[in-house]
Symmetry: C2
Subunit: 454 residues, 2 copies
Amino acid sequence: MKYRLILMLWVVFAIEINAQNDESVFIKEIFDNALTNQYAYNNLEHLCKFAPGRLVGSENSLLAVEYMKQYFENLDVDSVYLQEFTTPVWKCDSSSVFILSSADKPIMLHCDALGPSPSSQSEGITAEVIEVKSLAELEKLGREVVSGKIVFFNRKWDHTFVRTFEGYGNAVDQRSRGPEKAAEYGAVAVIIRSVTNSMDHFPHTGNTHFTDKKIPAVAIGTLDADLLSEHLIKDSKAKVRVFVDAEEIPEAKTYNLIAEFKGKEKPEEIIVIGSHIDTWFNTQGAHDDGAGVVMTSDVLRIFKELEIENKRTIRVVIYMDEELYQSGGKAYAKYVKGAGEKHYLALESDGGAFTPSMFTVDGSVENVRGIARFLEYLEPYGIDKIKAGWGGVDIGPLKEMKVPLMSYGTDSQRYFDLHHSANDTFDKINLRELQLGSGCITSIIYLIDKYGIE
Amino acid sequence: MKYRLILMLWVVFAIEINAQNDESVFIKEIFDNALTNQYAYNNLEHLCKFAPGRLVGSENSLLAVEYMKQYFENLDVDSVYLQEFTTPVWKCDSSSVFILSSADKPIMLHCDALGPSPSSQSEGITAEVIEVKSLAELEKLGREVVSGKIVFFNRKWDHTFVRTFEGYGNAVDQRSRGPEKAAEYGAVAVIIRSVTNSMDHFPHTGNTHFTDKKIPAVAIGTLDADLLSEHLIKDSKAKVRVFVDAEEIPEAKTYNLIAEFKGKEKPEEIIVIGSHIDTWFNTQGAHDDGAGVVMTSDVLRIFKELEIENKRTIRVVIYMDEELYQSGGKAYAKYVKGAGEKHYLALESDGGAFTPSMFTVDGSVENVRGIARFLEYLEPYGIDKIKAGWGGVDIGPLKEMKVPLMSYGTDSQRYFDLHHSANDTFDKINLRELQLGSGCITSIIYLIDKYGIE
């Protein structure tokens, strides 16, 4: 009896070992495919060059969706369809900032409007400038000082944060909450220092939150911010003119794009992977988040080419509007709830396509452990960690349905050089790094589908 | 007695713990300094833009040494001096490759000579072409087929190697040994497909080894190689003309550059860190290896600014001529041997300045373990591994004196896009990645000096 048990254990152990070896071999097949195919790269080039500035509501955002729809149709997946929903949209036709010096000619600063900034009057808003480093400093100055002025948020990026996402988190409140706060104190417009670790003339736009009163708000390049600040030291009464021509439309139709392979054993359990196709108006959106779109879309191609028999349904969702109102993710979650669909897991890729670094899991401890056991398969390809952490903006609304969320993370050092700026172009994409991303996401989805996450 | 022992152990343990906490804080100071200073970046810009093509024997190689010498003099280190030695030198003034088609006009291919290729006659060498994929294939063809022909080595890079240095190792024999082998079989010239994972028109040059007979040898871009190969399918008798204007001079004077801080406790024990200042004639040499020069040179600046009291002598050696004859490393080792100096450790940085990834150690198991215990201090800054592995070309000759060698390694995905080509330019350097490199090298040298490696 004892010998029999030992023998049984030995057999179980041997099967397990063999299974693992086989999986390593198969994971290598996935990466061999990813590293020798340029579909994702070519798709990204198309999105960047033929549909830049894919902000929700723009014609290019729809061209981009149509392009990816055709990609999935050519791939002959089980189903491809658009998910229609309505959302406010906003567009910005132009913006400008000039220092109106008494001594010199007007000095133009490189700027882009924050979304959804309102228009200024057509001649722009001309006023004196109050430079502050934080929301707290603004509060201290109070309404009396701020009222009627243009507020200039100029807190610098702290370069000593090694993880750039922490550097971003440390600086972004100026952009996300600064304009609202300034409006509350009677400011007439807001200029922010771009939230980037780069020193250059690229304005980095982004979302800002307004409740009641909206005032024109723009980002200027970091070198422009230094120039303005120096100017204000010499001439604290210098006036600045801020001009924005933008329009918010309360309701418009737009679409998420959905493509899937039905599960062969448990089609009702859906693994959803995705990313957002929209970008800011000022950029090709190569890393943010064209790269996510083409890498997650590449998963279905690799599944098909390697004839993977997926147990569960593997669904790619290309979300519209992560940047402005996050309406695509909300619309998708609403649909899931309404249809009573069961989502087994949701993965998002929205951190660029640099060298792979990690997967983070926003779920139960069991989920984290269940996924972290796949680490050994991915370490040879650059994934160092699978750990508890961030999920994603688009998949965030699925959390209330207790869907485990996860995010694909890459080397972050270069990300905020480009983020939300005209500098985020296709030439910043490295073919191999993108291909490794396709391989990593495909592999983890394959393993999760096959072995489960608990 | 027993209680006393426990108490003693507890005290030792507590001191150790506190020391470690303090060190984490100090390592952060090192990185804070590195991440907020642009000295290394500015030095690299200078080397790239004012002294590109720093091949040994060139005027720019001496200008580059002079520039770095002034940097160390301004830094007021304990000593700065040039180490003179003689070496053969080689220069290439021009090269060209044309397909001489009967039907079309001559088709120009993008090429650079390999070093040290001899000159062709002034009208070039015109002959039929034999395309092979490997040295073994050449051998099989034998002298009868090869004699009088131009051999075209066209084995493609295998993209399925995840670590690009392995991909390079798998392809580079065509360049390093191909010309010699072809000459042995009577070939009149050699063309190689550039050893790179990129598909473009940049020729990637590099070292080739000749024993007796030398024949002109050039690298062509990967797209050019595809074009030539396609042409040979259509017209296997097509002739190609290879022209090289180059010259080898048997003996010339050149210099290594040495700068150091004397050790305060054990000045006779020398920790040497370095990299090579020479580049191929066709490139700025930003990643290979201008980056290594400025990061290792930054160590002395950071030691000085943070007032680190180094126990052992910290010596930076900027080697001349890693690329062509490896004469600088050999000259340095010869000097060390002659002077009877004791080298405690030698570190080289010659893998570019991408995001930090690892240190490798070429020494005893005790050395590897002794250095690997510092991993925990460096993990927050991107160093995932400290393990047995490669040392470096320039420090290689120190090995026979039993000096433990080590190498700084960075994310390798982009390295061979640039390596030995005109594409290795300053704009490919990311400020933060370079700064993290300064921080990593400074930190490991600080820890090794303070705690030893055994």
